[in-house]
């Protein structure tokens, strides 16, 4: 065999190997997660969206069309009580609102395809009622009552907290800590301990929380939240109020 044929054969073999190697790849032509799932959680007592915060509840999705034992996927709530995820794989799902301050509900089996919307209604553990406030100088006094839509089997009520922030997004994950002091033994404690299962006395009490030290010229947003000793210890909230503080 002479040299030029050798080089041709080598080149040909080399090219063949390259082509074979290239054909060993697979193009990923699976569909991407291009469905979206959104909705809201209605408070059965008020008929409006549940008063909550970012991550105040989770929408749990289990993709039954993928596996018999799917790993749960969670969509966190938004501050206005809605949830939305625009990157969901289309399929057959078991959907459950969970990890929030409401009575457990049953999961719903449904298809998610394209733009899917779903509204759920839940019964909160507690409602904050008769919520009033007085802002004077550097202090804010909030008063409220608590009612329980269902009392049988209600978990123990732990305490009530004030939350103050300088944006409308205020809750247990967004608050200015010095206004909420909960540290035990601290004389400046602002939270109210309840530590009791439901009784008529709790329903009859008007609770008062006083926050001091608001800075002049600022606008604050505040609310109160009450939490119970269930698995998740999330808060049931009041509305958010706007508190402008006069400049000195």
């Amino acid at each position: 065999m002479n040299r030029s044929i050798n080089t041709v054969i080598v080149a040909f073999l080399g090219a063949a190997c390259l082509c074979l190697g290239y054909s060993c790849t697979k193009v990923d032509n699976y569909a991407g997660p291009n469905s979206s799932f959104q909705g809201n959680l209605i408070d059965s007592v008020t008929g409006k969206n549940m008063l909550t915060e970012t991550g105040g509840y989770q929408m749990q999705l289990k993709e039954l069309s993928w596996s018999d034992n799917p790993t749960p996927y969670y969509i966190p709530s938004k501050p206005d009580g809605t949830f939305e995820d625009t990157r969901i794989f289309g399929g057959h799902y078991s959907v459950l609102p969970t990890q929030g301050a409401f009575w457990p509900v049953d999961s719903v089996v449904m298809d998610i395809k394209g733009n899917t919307t779903k509204t759920f209604t839940v019964v909160p553990y507690l409602e904050i009622t008769n919520f009033t406030h007085v802002a004077a100088g550097d202090s804010l006094v909030m008063q409220f009552q608590i009612s329980a839509p269902r009392t049988a089997g209600l978990p123990t009520i732990i305490d009530a907290w004030p939350f103050v922030n300088n944006t409308p997004f205020v809750g247990s994950t967004a608050y200015i800590q010095p206004y909420t002091i909960s540290a035990g033994g601290n004389p400046n404690k602002n939270t109210v301990d309840i530590n009791s299962s439901w009784n008529a006395g709790i329903g009859a009490t008007t609770y008062e929380i006083r926050v001091r030290g608001l800075l002049p010229g600022r606008t604050y947003y505040a609310r109160v939240g009450v939490r119970l000793n269930d698995s998740y210890k999330k808060f049931d909230y009041s509305d958010v109020i706007t508190v402008p503080v006069a400049t000195k």
């Binding site: 596996s67 790993t71 990890q99 540290a183 400046n188 030290g213 698995s231």
Partner: protein, 615 residues
């Protein structure tokens, strides 16, 4: 023709010769007989198992694991104590580490099972005592692995024989979860086997009879409290209803009895370190640094030459006193107050007590406390723990108003309070912050006014206190813990055993220089004793979980420090109890009582479902 016939004859011979099977074992692969037929082989095999034991030592990090050969293992401040309130440290929140690091050591468990299955086949090469010892050590190690698994996940698959693939089908190999209680029973029975088989003494760092008994007292106590303090505090879910997490309350007594009995077996074989009872503070500090301590039951050693040295000295004390590295975790005042209540820093009228010398605070404090925590005014390597948060030009009013540390009190207004980020910043010729803290610049100086003292090697020269230069041994089990396990089990059993608990606690208190316990001892005081005695020893995180109080103890909780200030117009010091300057909150969600089963394992083995609740 002749040529062809010769060639074909030649070929036939060759073919006939090749019909013999080449059944010679490969010489470059180690076979069972190489290891298990001789003493050195078995010892080497066991040594490799000991090397992988999940010991939570100086370099263990709760969110990264056992850090073997990991370049980040110098950061001893990523300590579980920085999650549970013993320390404030580099973790921004409990969430950063509460779900663990996906620990799943079934490969190491297989290595142990392999020895348990194979060594008996070669028993004729050894004396019965040798075989018993090695089998006992293997049972101990297997129990150690399963205990590390069950305290994280609850019920996991119990694999006690070798699995073989492809001889067994995938379906057969997808072993389901066992109940949490069954895993604890399995650990108990492995430790019983170890106890029966092991000799009374063995080499340093290996298992022997009473080592097994000591660990049994720990594991059974955990199971007892998990049963007694129940699952009422856990997240509801399938795993709870099926018994994969939680143990029935009716079985608590049986576990407490097993813990108590196991602890009693250890009595007389180990004793508390009391070589220098004339100076109880020095004695207690030395107990953690003296390799010959009779209290050490199971230790892990480190050396420079083997490349296993750790960095405790370089990272638990401020850089001012070390060769390199930096510190980032500091004892809380909450821990310090366990020892004798609030420190004497407040007068009867509520004003802060004035001190001429910061070291005056140390007078009358419990020797064990002073040996566990470095206070302002203490000394190390000839240097003073010069800790000062700032200078008040003047100070009036009560200590209580300063508690929340929000820079909004009259004493802090109008430039009356000076703070600094470096010790070189002066006011009237005096440094505003101390050379050992507290800085406004970062967390490489104390945030609480304290530094860890336990395990710090005070004899080391400053130049030798650098990264990867510390060699003090880690004591994973010491006799003090056995006494605490015994006392807690005794109190939980109630009745006549309470007197035994008082005796155990008083041995610890006598050595510590603390006031003795009386008949009014309660379960809470035994728990508090455990927190004091085992501070920073990787225990409290697990204790909070098994007592089911973690979600209340760490409930958006902030921790306190004791911050020294100099009052300029008075020329005196005051100590203020204040929330530590970073004001971090620590919050333990109920689902964290159990870690999630690693997702990769769930993918391989759907029989591991249900996952732990809340995940």
């Amino acid at each position: 023709m002749k040529k062809i016939s010769y060639i074909s004859l030649f070929l036939v011979v060759l073919i006939a010769a090749s019909c013999r099977k080449l059944d010679v074992a490969p010489l470059n692969i180690i076979k069972d007989a190489d290891i298990f037929s001789n003493e050195n082989g078995v010892k080497a095999y066991l040594a490799s198992i000991y090397g992988t034991l999940p010991i939570e030592d100086f370099i263990y990090q709760p969110n990264h694991g056992f850090m073997k050969n990991d370049g980040g293992r110098w950061q001893c401040f990523y300590h579980p104590g920085s999650l549970d309130g013993e320390l404030v440290g580099p973790y921004g929140s409990t969430d950063e580490a509460a779900t663990g690091f996906g620990f799943w050591p079934y490969d190491n468990i297989r290595t142990v099972n392999y020895l348990l299955q194979t060594l008996p086949k070669y028993a004729s090469a050894f004396t019965p005592d040798q075989v018993h010892q090695w089998m006992g050590e293997a049972y101990f190690c297997r129990a150690y692995f399963y205990f590390a698994l069950v305290k994280r996940y609850g019920g996991i698959p119990i694999v006690r024989t070798l699995q073989n693939y492809p001889q067994q089908s995938i379906k057969e190999l997808q072993v389901p979860r066992d109940k949490e209680e069954d895993v604890y029973n399995f650990i108990g029975s492995d430790l019983d086997s170890a106890y029966m088989l092991l000799p009374e003494t063995n080499l340093r760092g290996t298992a022997s009879k009473y080592v097994a008994a000591a660990y049994k007292s720990r594991a059974m106590l955990y199971a007892g409290t998990i049963a007694k303090y129940g699952s009422g505090n856990l997240v509801t879910g399938d795993a709870l209803t099926k018994g994969f997490v939680g143990i029935p309350a009716a079985d608590a007594g049986k576990f407490f009895q097993a813990a108590y009995d196991a602890a009693k077996l250890v009595e007389g074989h180990y004793s508390l370190y009391e070589k220098n009872m004339a100076n109880k503070e020095q004695n207690y500090a030395d107990a953690f640094l003296d390799n010959s301590s009779p209290e050490n039951i199971f230790v892990k050693d480190y050396s420079l030459t083997s490349g296993t040295a750790h960095s405790w000295d370089a990272t638990l004390t401020c850089r001012y006193m070390t060769a390199d590295g930096l510190s980032r975790c500091y004892p809380t005042l909450d821990l310090v107050e366990r020892f004798g209540g609030p420190l004497p820093v407040v007068n009867n009228d509520g004003t802060p007590r004035r001190f001429t010398d910061r070291a005056d605070l140390l007078q009358g404090l419990e020797p064990r406390l002073l040996a566990t925590v470095y206070f302002p005014g203490a000394t190390l390597r000839g240097l003073n723990f010069d800790i000062q948060r700032g200078i008040f030009k003047t100070f009036t009013g009560s200590a209580a108003q300063e508690l929340s540390n929000n820079n909004n009190t009259p004493n802090e207004a109008g430039g009356n309070l000076l703070m600094a980020d470096k010790p070189t910043v002066l006011y009237n010729g005096r440094n505003i912050m101390g050379f050992a803290g507290v800085s406004t610049g970062g967390d490489d100086y104390t945030r609480t006014g304290f530094y860890v003292r336990k395990y710090v090697d005070y004899k080391k020269a400053q130049s030798a206190c650098g990264l990867y230069q510390s060699t003090q041994s880690y004591i994973d089990m010491r006799y003090a813990e056995v006494l605490l396990n015994r006392a807690e089990a005794a109190m939980e059993l109630g009745g006549a055993t309470q007197a035994d608990a008082i005796a155990s606690i008083n041995q610890l208190r006598d050595r510590a220089g603390a006031t003795p316990a009386t008949a009014s001892l309660t379960v809470d005081s035994v728990r508090n004793e455990r927190c004091k005695e085992l501070a920073f020893e990787h225990q409290y995180w697990w204790d909070l979980r098994r007592w089911r109080i973690a979600d209340q103890a760490l409930d958006n909780t902030k921790f306190y420090g004791l911050l020294p200030y100099y009052v300029d117009t008075e020329g005196k010091y005051i100590f203020l109890k204040q929330v530590e300057p970073f004001q971090r909150s620590y919050n333990f969600q109920k689902k964290y009582y159990y870690e999630p089963i690693p997702g990769g394992e769930l993918g391989k083995n759907p029989n591991l479902f249900p996952n732990n609740p809340g995940y």
